[in-house]
Each structure stands twice: as C-alpha cells, then as structure tokens.
C-alpha cells in the first residue's frame, strides 16, 4: 500500500516532466515548420494554404504523440520526442527545398515524406499504446531472429526484390518500394538483447583467463560468429556495406554491455578485420568503395562509373557551405546525386553551414545519450540491452553516413535517421523511438514496494510488478 510519507514520496517519485516536453515540442515545431516556411519564402515568394495545412499536420501528429505519452507513458524521457520532431521537420523542409531543383522537379518527394511521417508516427503511437511494457518483447526473442532473417533476405527473393544503385535492399509491393532491412534493425536488436539477457550468466562465468582478459569459450562464441556470418551475408548477397557494418557493430556493442568484457570487443574487431579483408578480396562493390575512399580526388576514379563523383561533389558542397552556410534555398545541393536521401547531410552542410550541421549532430548526440540514459535507468537487463542496442543503431547510422560523406570511413549506403527521404527507415526509426520511450518510462516510473521486496542491488525484482501511483494521488 502507499504508505510512504509525502516527504519521502517527493524524493522517490520523479516528476513526469511532460510539460517540459510540451514546451520543447513547441520549439521543435517552430524550427521544423519555420524552416519549411523559410524555404517557401525564399523559393516561392508566397506562402500558400498548403504550407499551413502541412504545418498543422506536423503539429497535430506531434501533439497526438505527446498526448499518447501523457496517457500511456507519462514518465518517459521528455527530450526524445522534441529532438526527433525537430530532425524530422528539418528533413521534410530540406526535401521540400530540393523539390524546387531541376533534379527533383515535379517529384513532390516532400509530400510523400510527410505521408510517411504520418504513417510512422501513427504506427509508433499504436505500438506505444498496445505494447505498454517493453519486457513483453523478451518473449519474442527467437521469433525475432526468424523475422530478421526473413526481412533481410526478402529482397533477394526473385520477383519481389529490386536492384537500386547496385544494392539489393528493396522489395516492391504494389508499386511501392520498401526496405525490409530497416525493420530488421528492430528485430535483430530484440533478438540480441533477449538472447544475451537469457544467456548472460553462462557466458560470464565460463571462460579462460589470459593475462588480464577473460576470453569466452568457443561454444559461447557461436552467436557472435552467427552475427558475423549474417553481416557478411548481407554484404555479399545484397551489396549493402552500411547495414553489414551496423548489424555487426550492434552485436559487438550489446555483447560488451551484457558481459562488460573488453575481450568481446577485441574479438569483435578481429572479426571485423577478417570480414573487411574478405570483402575487399572478394566483393567488388566493397573494394570499389575502399578505393574511392582512399583516392577520391584521383581523376580516373572521379570519372569512372560508380566512381568518387558523388563523394567529391559532396565535399565541395560542404566546403561551399563553409562556417555559416549559404542559407536555406540559396545553395546548389542538387549537384550531388541522391541529394535528398543518402546525401541529405551535404545539403544541410551546404545551406546551414558547419554551425547548422554541427547543431544537428549535437541533436543526434543528445538523442543517443537519452537512449543510453534510458538503458542506464531501467532495472531489467533486457531493457538495458535493448536501449543500448537502439542507441548503438542510431550512433552507427549517423557515424556511417556522416563519416562516409566526410571521408572518415569509406562511404556506404545508409541514410541519416529522420532526415533522409525514405519511408522504411523513417518507420523503423519512429518505432524505435516508441520502444525507447517505453523503456525510459519504465526507468523513471516510481515504484512503490512493500517491505519484503529487494529493491536494490543486482537482481532487484521490484520492477516485475509495480504498484502504480495514480495521477493526482498522494504524491502532492
């Protein structure tokens, strides 16, 4: 029973902080819709009804999400939604801006992106409402594995798959292109988190100590080896370097967090090195990317088909933006191929400059920090591992995309989360947002425990059956 005194309740029960979220959300909408209006003023001179309708749709969706959180997960992290709404809004504005260029003339990609935003946010709200608690997903550990394999290899099914830009990651359903691999990010994260949460103790206890590092037994390496094979399969079969890197990085990070053993990271890097070597030897696509990375400015590589033209023009675009950028609508971002999807970061870098792009990277940094904060705060292992998995997915996506564009690493086809045009990635990332919000809700949700329950230390099980404080209850 709720027997704690008001004073104790004040320290034990954190505030829901939904009002903070609302204020931040208003700022986020101002930025996103404001950018859209700026594009209109710069490139069209008039702001017609369309702008206000689209702005209202964005605001309506964000507020619906906010209300869903108030009802279903009121202790959820208040920063995540505003940041994501900001990035998504900026993405739509930039896509809209690129619709004015010759490259995308008449395509109205922005309208499609807004439609996908609505679908994605609707799906995320639905997931949030129906799931209620992330721990239910733990039961789906092995189903997730099966789903992942199906999703990843769907694009190579004859008649269903499509080859676009040399990568076989698309399927065609009723004229609409969809990247099922994007959803595999979620199912694989669930599988890794579930599997490691279940087998953590076993992996932790067994092992050989060499020097200061404890190395796992060979049979415990099997899942890692499996993840590695999966990544290589994705790479070889689908020519998708970015996703291969992301899946493997994801697994290494999660297994490290599960065991706290640096040896896993070392082994992971060895596998990456071996995989990279194999890919370089046998996969033309990977070797090509590698050559482009090292010799981007070489005239021969610049001129050849699938050469460094895109990368080099991207660098020119970033350089042209300089510190302050040309201003929204005043650059020439359409010179770069795939300007509104894979290379949208370049468009931002050119028109908003280093300052604008750095600010957006800081938003990403805060966002994945909040994901990890949810993992730190939640009490169950599965939740921790799942939150970290999603955070790593976000970090790796951003790093692979921006790193590829800025020549930190070889370029590979991933899209900037929430910014780039593309429905499947948007849907997957919004579903992740819903799941992380649920985890963060579980992390910050106050628990009232009876005297007999162990609420501290390892293995605390108080979260298993929380007694909830009703709204407006004794916590005043």
């Amino acid at each position: 029973m709720a027997a704690a005194s008001p004073a104790q309740q004040k320290t034990e029960h954190p505030k829901p902080r939904r009002n903070v979220e609302l204020i931040l959300l208003l700022i986020a909408l101002t930025i996103g819709i404001g950018a859209q209006v700026l594009v209109g003023i710069t490139l069209e001179d008039t702001i017609d009804q369309q702008y206000w309708i689209e702005g209202a749709i964005q605001a309506g969706l964000a507020l619906a999400f906010h209300i869903a959180l108030r009802v279903r997960a009121k202790y959820a992290d208040p920063f995540i939604l505003p940041i994501v709404v900001t990035l998504n809004g900026l993405g739509i504005a930039m896509i809209h801006r690129l619709d004015f260029t010759d490259r995308y003339a008449g395509a109205e990609v922005a309208d499609r992106q807004l439609l996908w935003t609505a679908i994605s946010m609707g799906a995320a709200i639905l997931l949030l409402t129906l799931l209620k608690d992330h721990r239910k997903l733990r039961q789906l550990t092995y189903i997730s594995l099966v789903l992942s394999v199906i999703l990843l290899f769907l694009p190579i099914v004859p008649g269903l798959g499509q080859d676009i830009q040399g990568a076989q990651v698309w399927i065609n359903i009723g004229g609409m292109s969809f990247q099922p691999g994007e959803l595999a990010k979620i199912t694989l994260a669930i599988f890794f988190a579930g599997f490691l949460a279940n087998n953590r103790d076993l992996i932790l206890l067994a092992g050989k100590k060499i020097g200061r590092m404890t190395f796992p037994r060979i049979q415990d390496l099997a899942p890692l080896f499996f993840a590695w094979l999966l990544a290589l399969g994705v790479l070889i079969v689908q020519n998708d370097l970015g996703n291969a890197l992301m899946f493997f990085g994801l697994f290494v990070a999660v297994i490290y967090v599960a065991t706290s053993r640096i040896s896993w990271v070392v082994i992971g890097f060895l596998f990456v090195a071996a995989g990279a070597l194999l890919a370089y030897q046998f996969v033309w696509h990977a070797r090509n990317r590698f050559d482009i990375w090292l010799n981007a400015f070489d005239d021969e590589i610049y001129e050849q088909a699938f050469g460094s033209h895109q990368l080099v023009q991207g660098l020119f675009g970033l350089a042209h933006g300089g510190l302050t950028g040309t201003g929204l609508g005043s650059g020439s971002p359409d010179i770069v191929a795939l300007a509104n999807s894979d290379m949208i970061i370049v468009a931002f870098g050119e028109e908003l400059g280093f300052i604008g792009l750095a600010a957006m990277l800081v938003l990403y940094l805060i966002l994945f920090s909040r994901y990890m904060r949810a993992g730190l705060g939640t009490r169950d292992h599965f939740g921790k591992l799942l939150a970290v998995a999603f955070a790593v997915v976000l970090v790796l996506q951003v790093f692979v995309v921006v790193g590829g564009i800025t020549r930190v690493i070889p370029m590979s086809g991933l899209v900037s989360p929430f910014l780039a045009a593309g429905g499947s990635a948007l849907l997957a990332n919004w579903l992740i947002v819903a799941l992380v919000l649920l985890i963060s809700h579980a992390a910050r949700r106050p628990i009232v425990v009876g005297p007999m329950l162990n609420t501290t230390g390892e293995g605390a099980s108080g979260t298993e059956d929380p007694l909830r404080i009703k709204e407006g209850g004794g916590a005043k």
């Binding site: 967090v257 080099v312 023009q313 350089a319 970090v395």
Partner: protein
C-alpha cells in the same frame, strides 16, 4: 552493466568527435582548396550569380544586375537600350566567358580589383553582398542614339566619334546589332538557341565589335598615311606639280594602277598635289610610293598605330600594313589602301584625330570613371598621348589638304555652313566580284580649332549609296556634336 553502457557512450561520443573534426576540416580549414578545385562548379555558380556593378552612360545604367527569379544564380544581368549599347557592353553569360566591356572591366565590375580590396574585407565581415564598381562610359547617349538612327537597318555600317583632345570615344555604333539580353539568359539551352538564331539566321556575331575587331580595306582614306610619308620626304608639298596619267604602268607585272573611271581625275593629266589629294587620284600616289619605297610608308603607318593591338580598354585588333618586303605592284596598291592594307574604323578615326590634334595621337578611351559602391572614384583614366605621329606643321599641311577635299573635292557632301570641315573619303574595292565597296569618310572639325573626329564607314555597299551616306552622315554627326 551500467559502466559498460557508460563506456559505450564514451566511445560513441568519440566517434561523433571524429565527425566534428572532419566537418571542421572540410567546412572551415579546407574551404578555399576545395572551392578552387576545377571540378567544383559551386564557386562558379556563386561567382556567376553574384551581382556585378552597373555600366552607365550619362549616369544611366545600360547594364545592371537584378535579383533573379527561379534560378540557381542569384542575379540576372539586364541590358537597357541593348541595340544602342550591346556592341560596347558585350554580354555576361553564365554559359561562356563574358565579352566586351563586361570582360574588359570584369575585375572592377565583380569587385575583385586591387582598389576594391577593403570593400571585399568589409563584405567578408559584415556579411553584406559585395557590390561591384560602377563603370561610367565616355559615350554620349544622344550622339549614340543619333548615330544609331542614321545607319540604315539593312546596311553594315559603323560610326565612330572621338574627342580629338582627350581621345574619349563619344559614340561608337555599328549595325546590324544584337540584344545582349538574349545571351545573358541563365539557361544553357536558351543561350544556344538564341546564339544560333543570331549567328546562323541573322548573320551577326556577338563576339566582335566591327569598329574595333574587324580590319577591312581602308581604300583612299589610307592616302592620309601615304601623304604623310610624302610630305616628310621633303620632295612633296601641296603645290608640287605631279603627273596624273589615267593608268600607271607598274614594274614587274602586266597590271596597271588606274584612276577611278568616273572621278574628276580624268580632267587633268598633270596637277598640283592639293588638287590630286582632293580628287583622290590614284596614279600620282602609286608613283610616289614607287619613288619613296616601302620603308617610309611602314614607318608612317606604324607611327599612326598600324600593326599593333590596343586596349581602350576594349581590345582593338591591329590594323595591318606589310612590314615584310612586298612586290612593287603590291606596294603601289597598298599606298592607296588596297591589297595588303587593312584598317579598323577606330584606327582610321585615330588617324583623323591625330592630325586634328597637331600630330599628337591621344589614347582612345571608352571609360570615363570607375566608382566604388560608395560612389568614391576608384579610377578615372587621364588623357594621354599614345603616339607622337608628326610635327604640328605637317599636321597643318594635312589639315589644309583635307579642308580642300571638303570644299572642292570628293568630300563636298560634308561641307558645313557653320564651320570648316576637314575630311578624306575612301572607296575600297572588296574583291568580292559583286561590285560592292567599302565606303569611308574620316575627318574632323572645326579645321581651325579641331574638337571632334568622326569616321563613317559602310561595308559591302554599292558605291553611289555609300558616297551619299558617308559624307552627309559625317556632317550630321559633326553638327550634332558641335552644338553641345
């Protein structure tokens, strides 16, 4: 577990820091290097779309940059009264290199000249758009309009008016004209279409200015140069009696040098030099060339500026007189402005201006002043002597001969009641076989206190129309310019 999460976070932040580092290298440290790469079209687009300073005549813009609509380029170059001025302004295109004044004054117009260094620095810090300098031309708008109206639309004609004391060009018009706006379009396709319509259908090239860039046979106007060589030899003066056969037998060949069949030259088989000059009889000049030899003619021509290019600041192509040895028949024909001799209308006008200015040829100049965006004068070319062609007594003698030409000779159509005009006509055979000629007149007024030099020339015109137009149009221009 939580410490492992924190480690993961630290590594993630490390990855992000590498991105920040890479971005700051690309967007801050290496911007110039990347911007200068020859494969980077962005800097080009920014430069081509940047506002340029206006080109003005009498303070009114004839070329200016206005904000562009629906274009990746920020500004659109607009030309006013293009048919009067496109031949001088040239065009600023995003497709090709600029031409005309747009090219010659490019540094000032874009703000990249040395004297605009501080403007650039201040624009860098204030973030304001760098405004190019304003270039005021020496052209007189009303004279330009008058000259344009005088030339019939179906003729290839050129009129040049210059102040003989300063070298300033007051009017410079040619027909047919073109509209620089057609070539300043931002679409490459549109540009190609407009260009081919201009060159292929109308036969107009926007790439050269007839007054400056196309040397043609000067005909008898070149006798001014031959006369200078004759006077300087000491063997000739206006009263010297000369043989005037209707045909001159030439050495080394069967060719002869005839006088014009319908000219006044047939009246006398022997005459004083001033009469011969006024009637423009060919044979005495041919004979004189044979006596003088080639060197004095080359010397006289080169003192007038032949065989050398010039910037005013538009480029003036060299007019040609052979300085390598030529045959004697060629020499006699060259002495009367045919065969191996060419001249641009500007070159011929410079000859008249030099005689008018007592033998001192002034550097021709089209730019009156260059003003920064704050209207501060950045550059204002001072009149300067280009060539010391002859002493003033020789110039006076030449002037007398030219006055006599107007009063009693071939230049009678340029005779004015208000002031004395000095001029020399010319009719050059073009060798095209269709009987058309280049019809010239070059001269100045008033003869006792020369102010302005005018040259009128028609290319490929029938002889009588040419004679009709040149003399009277020169008079119209002189009367208009003297009235001001």
């Amino acid at each position: 577990m939580n410490s492992a999460i924190r480690h993961t976070w630290v590594v993630s932040v490390g990855l992000f820091l590498s991105l920040f580092a890479a971005l700051s290298i690309i967007q801050v440290a290496l911007t110039d290097q990347l911007g200068d790469d020859h494969r980077n079209s962005r800097q080009l687009i920014a430069d081509l779309g940047a506002p340029r300073g206006p080109i003005t005549v009498d303070g009114n813009a004839i070329a200016e940059s206005v904000p562009a609509e629906n274009s990746q380029y920020d500004y659109q170059r607009v030309y006013h009264d293009p048919h009067l001025y496109s031949g001088i302004t040239g065009f600023f295109s995003v497709v090709q290199e600029p031409t005309g004044m747009e090219s010659a004054m490019n540094d000032y117009l874009t703000g990249q000249s040395d004297s605009q260094f501080f403007d650039r620095i201040s624009a860098l810090f204030t973030g304001e758009t760098l405004m190019g300098a304003q270039v005021e031309l020496t052209i007189d708008g009303e004279l330009q309009q008058l000259a344009h109206d005088l030339i019939p639309d179906d003729q290839r004609g050129t009129i040049v008016v210059q102040d003989v004391n300063t070298g300033e060009v007051k009017a410079m018009v040619s027909k047919p004209t073109f509209d620089a706006n057609d070539l300043a379009v931002h679409s490459g396709e549109q540009f190609e279409a407009n260009l081919s319509e201009l060159t292929e259908e109308r036969g107009v090239s926007p790439y050269y200015i007839p007054a400056l860039n196309r040397p043609i046979f000067p005909g008898s106007t070149f006798k001014l140069i031959t006369t200078l060589a004759m006077l300087e030899s000491g063997d000739y003066d206006p009263d010297t009696e000369l043989e005037n056969p209707q045909e001159l037998e030439l050495p080394q060949t069967d060719r002869t040098l005839p006088n014009f069949f319908d000219g006044g030259c047939s009246q006398r088989s022997e005459a004083e030099f001033s009469w011969i000059f006024a009637q423009s009889c060919n044979t005495p000049f041919g004979e004189a060339a044979l006596e003088l030899g080639q060197d004095p003619l080359v010397d006289a021509a080169e003192r007038f500026g032949w065989n050398e290019g010039l910037r005013i600041p538009l480029y003036v192509n060299p007019s040609h007189f052979p300085d390598e040895e030529i045959s004697l028949p060629s020499l006699t024909y060259s002495a009367i402005g045919q065969e191996d001799v060419t001249a641009t209308p500007m070159q011929m006008n410079m000859v008249a201006a030099a005689i008018a200015n007592g033998g001192q040829m002034m550097q021709p100049q089209l730019v009156d002043s260059v003003r920064g965006s704050d209207l501060q004068i950045l550059d204002s070319p001072d009149p300067e002597v280009l060539h010391d062609v002859m002493d003033s007594s020789t110039a006076e003698t030449l002037t007398e001969l030219m006055v006599n030409t107007v009063e009693e000779g071939t230049g009678h159509r340029a005779d004015s009641e208000n002031f004395q005009v000095a001029a020399k006509t010319g009719t050059a055979e073009r060798g095209t076989g269709d009987g058309t000629v280049n019809s010239w007149i070059t001269g100045f007024a008033p003869a006792d206190d020369p102010q302005y030099a005018v040259t009128v020339v028609y290319e490929g015109i029938d002889m009588s129309t040419g004679n009709e137009l040149t003399g009277s149009q020169m008079l119209t221009m002189l009367e208009a310019v003297m009235e001001e």
